[in-house]
Every structure is written in C-alpha cells, then in structure tokens.
C-alpha cells in the first residue's frame, strides 16, 4: 500500500495522464470527424439521389458489421500498402471517426425523419430557403432529438478509443501496459487506468447532460430532470 501511494503513483501517474490526454484528443477529434461525416452521410441518404444512396448505405452497413478493432487494423496496415502512410494517431482518428460516422449517420437520419414535415412546410411558406430551413429548423430539431444518443456514443468512444492501443497509439491503456512491463504491478496499474477512465467518462456524462439541458427549451427542462438516465448509452458499441 505504501509503495502504491508513495512510489508507483508519483512515478507513473504523470505518464498515465499523458496517455489520458491522448485518449481525450483521440476522442474529441474522432467525434468531430464522426459528427460531420455522419451528418453528411445522413443528408446524402435523405437527398433522394439514387447514385448517392447505395454507396452510402453500403458504407454504413459494412462499417457496422465489421468489429472496430478489425477496422483499425485494416486501416493501419493496408493504407501504407496503397502508399498512404498515416501516423498511428491519425490512423486511429480515421478509424474511430469512420466507425462512429456510420452509427451517427443512422442516428441523424432517424432524427431528421422524425421531424414533422409541417415544420419544413411552414419554413417554405414564409419564403425560407432550403439551406435556411436546414440550419434554422431541421438541424436544431434533429440535434435536440439526437443529443442524448450522440452523448452516449461519445462516452462509449472515450472507452473504445482504448482499442487503438493495438495499433501502437500511446494512449491511456497502452501507457498502462508500458508501465506494467516496467513494474510488473498489473493490479495496481490497471486500477489506476480504470479510475482515470471512470473519471473521464463520468465528467463526460455530466457534460453531456448539461448540453442536453441547454438544448432543451426552458419549459421542458424540469420535466426532463426528473426522468433521469436520459443519456442513452449504447449497450454494445461497435
């Protein structure tokens, strides 16, 4: 116990935190990429253009049917063979982002489809342009519907980003295993890693709930607070 608190922690905790920072960077960048691409794919599939529909549908299907870890390995090991060498970190962002986008595109598509078409008609009937209707009406309404699910995916992503340790990105889990190979203190180190993941996920879920509240119109807020566990976390991620 003494050794844990006064030797292991001071010596290795900063190194683990460095890994945690990389985990956060990975997660935020993949999330940003996944959000933009996911919305793009959703809009592409809703645009009613046949030539867009089938490739996008194929993308979503394939990326949801192959395990994330396999996707990461494929990206990491095949890209160089077609002359595209990405640093492991960026290969990780690409892999996580592509995977997330496949899921988020379905979340956004469902959210947009669930909006009453009358909202759009009302926008058109006062002369709003399609673009204006998108960012003034469709997007805010869709985001409000999607936010709890998207938040759940973000929290899952924080944890699933640990898979990129397999392609040698020095994030939290990989730094943990490095520490273990130096100290042979499996239990204590994994415990520290677990605590750091817990703190990150916990803070993230508080933030997500905060954002949900901000996006909820004032008169609906109180009702929601009592109905807890709004952030639907996907039970199984990719």
């Amino acid at each position: 116990m003494y050794e844990f608190f006064f030797v292991l922690i001071p010596r290795y905790f900063p190194f683990l935190l460095e890994g945690a920072v990389v985990t956060l960077e990975l997660s935020f960048l993949s999330m940003a990429f996944g959000l933009v691409l996911g919305m793009g794919v959703a809009l592409g599939r809703l645009s009613g253009r046949k030539w867009l529909e089938w490739p996008l549908a194929a993308y979503v299907e394939i990326w949801r049917d192959v395990p994330l870890i396999v996707q990461l390995l494929v990206i990491y090991f095949t890209l160089p063979s077609i002359g595209l060498t990405l640093p492991a970190f960026w290969a990780g962002v690409l892999g996580l982002g592509l995977n997330l986008a496949a899921y988020l595109s379905e979340v956004f598509r469902a959210a947009i489809l669930s909006i009453d078409p009358g909202q759009r008609a009302a926008g058109l009937s006062i002369g709003m342009s399609r673009l204006m209707i998108f960012y003034r009406i469709t997007l805010p309404l869709a985001l409000r519907i999607a936010i709890p699910t998207v938040g759940g995916y973000f929290i899952a992503l924080l944890k699933d980003s640990s898979l990129v340790s397999f392609i040698s990105v020095n994030e939290l889990l990989r730094n943990g295993t490095i520490v273990i190979s130096n100290t042979f203190r499996n239990m204590e180190v994994y415990m520290m890693v677990a605590i750091i993941y817990f703190v990150m996920s916990f803070v993230a879920s508080v933030l997500v709930r905060h954002i949900e509240q901000r996006l909820t119109p004032r008169h609906l807020r109180r009702k929601q607070r009592s109905g807890k566990a709004l952030t639907a976390r996907p039970a199984v991620m990719p």
Partner: protein, 275 residues
C-alpha cells in the same frame, strides 16, 4: 375582436384604392395540372383572385383543395398550367414545355403569400415571438428590433401579447392558430392562404379564429380560405369555388352557391354538408 390587425399604412390621399379602380387580378391560375404519380389530382384549374377579395374553396374530401393552394405557393410543384401572382408569371407553358421560375423567385413570391395550416405548424423549438419574427428577420432581413416591435403589435392584435415568450406546446390550439396568423401577417403579405384553419380546433375555439380571419377580411386583406365552415363562408366570402375531382365545378357569390346550386354535384355536396 375589432382591433385593426393589418398594420399596413392607410393609402395616401389620391392614391387609387381597390374601390376606385377596377383592379388587376392579384392571382391568376390557368389550366393548372398536378398529379402524384399516376393520380391526377388537379386537372385544369382556373382561378382568379382580385386584391381585397375573400375566396373560399369548398368541396368533398380528396377533391384537391389542399393540393390547389399548395400549388399556388409552390409547396407542391404543378405539372402544367400557369400561375401569375402580383404581375409575375411563376410558371407557364412555352410551346409544349412547362417552365417554372427559379427557386429564388418562388421564395420571394411565397414570402408574400404565406400559408396558415390546419395543424398550425409553428416552429416547435422557438417561442411565440421567435416564430413571428423568423420570416421578417431571416427572409426579409429586417432589423431585429423593428421585427420584434412589429411582431409584438401583431401579437397584441390577435390577443396574445402576454404569450410572446411561451413555446407553442404551452398554448391551446386556438392560441397556436392565432400565432400562425400573426406569423403570416408579419410578412406584410399580399395574400394569405388558409388550409382548413379551424378543422383541428376544439369547437369552442373555432369562433375566435373565425373572428380573427373576419377582421383581416374587413381590413381589406386578400384571402383564399379552404374551409368546411359553411356559415362562415356564406357571410364572409366574395366568391366561393366548389372543387371536386380536380376541377372547379362551380364558382360564384355565396348566395348562389349555397342557396341556388344549379350543378347537381354541388347541390349534393351542399346538402350533405348542411346535415
């Protein structure tokens, strides 16, 4: 409800008004066709609306009433025919080719003939005030504070001054519809389209909306109203159009349409609706 709802300025002395000059039609629809797939919903509709006129469109369910007024503002794109609004051809036949003006022109036209819907269609994520100023600020690009001042005046006139900061789902159906009317008026429109504005309301809320619409008509606003409120139509209409199976079967002043229907289909319809 005697408040002035139209806040357009009175015409300057000497300026001809609708009464002094035989007006050019505000809206002229010719041979309008619309089909959904194989279903021909409109099969050659002709309709003329003069400024200041109140036109009612009546007819059996599925006859194409909604489709007609949704084609007039291009919420649906017609397949053939001609629509002239405020001196501008929005769609026409050239040779055998049907041409529709570019979206930009259609948008400008729509902003001058907003629609009030059966189910209100208020923007659910915006307050009452935000609903009303959305068009003026985003479409007409008016300064926000001017738009707000105008919106507050309109809301006061429809009796909802105290609801400006409420969200649509905090309002009754009747209140929602009055917000929708204020939202339409905020565009300073030349024409307002109503698609069964009272059909989704509880019976005790209907007369409030009818009063609001009547006040608009009395102030000279041009209205096209699809409605099943026959008593209302009889009192308010300048012209009633009876539409069935995609064509206007009969048009005329309410007295003739309701009291002396010479067309047998119209007669049957009137009888069915009065019971």
């Amino acid at each position: 409800m005697s408040a002035r709802i139209l806040t357009t300025e009175a015409p300057a002395p000497g300026v001809p008004t609708a009464e002094t000059v035989p007006a050019k039609p505000l809206l002229q629809v010719r041979a309008l066709h619309k089909s959904f797939g194989a279903v021909n919903v409109l099969r050659g509709v002709d309709l003329t609306v003069n400024p200041g006129e109140v036109s009612f469109v009546i007819g059996p369910s599925g006859g194409g009433k909604s489709t007609l007024i949704r084609c007039i503002n291009f919420l649906e794109t017609p397949n053939a025919g001609e629509i002239m609004f405020d001196g501008r051809l929005l769609c026409r036949e050239e040779g055998n080719v049907f041409k529709v003006e570019p979206e930009r022109i259609l948008r400008a036209a729509r902003s001058e003939m907003p629609m009030v819907f059966q189910h209100f269609n208020l923007f659910s994520h915006r307050t009452v005030l935000e609903n009303v100023i959305e068009g003026p600020v985003m479409v007409k690009r008016w300064p926000r504070d001017e738009a707000i001042a105008h919106a507050e005046k309109l809301l006061a006139e429809v009796g909802l001054a105290d609801k400006a900061d409420r969200y649509p789902d905090e309002l009754s159906g009747g209140q929602k519809q009055r917000v929708a009317i204020a939202r339409a008026l905020a565009m300073r429109p030349k024409l307002i389209l109503f698609d069964e504005p009272t059909s989704a309301l509880d019976p005790e809320l209907v007369s409030g909306i009818l009063d609001t619409i009547r006040a608009l008509a009395e102030q000279g606003m041009t209205l096209i109203i699809v409605s099943h409120e026959m008593g209302f139509a009889r009192r308010l209409a300048d012209v009633v159009h009876f539409i069935a199976d995609g064509t206007i079967v009969e048009s005329g002043p309410p007295a003739r349409i309701f009291d002396n229907p010479d067309n047998p289909r119209l007669a049957t319809f009137i009888r069915s609706i009065l019971h």
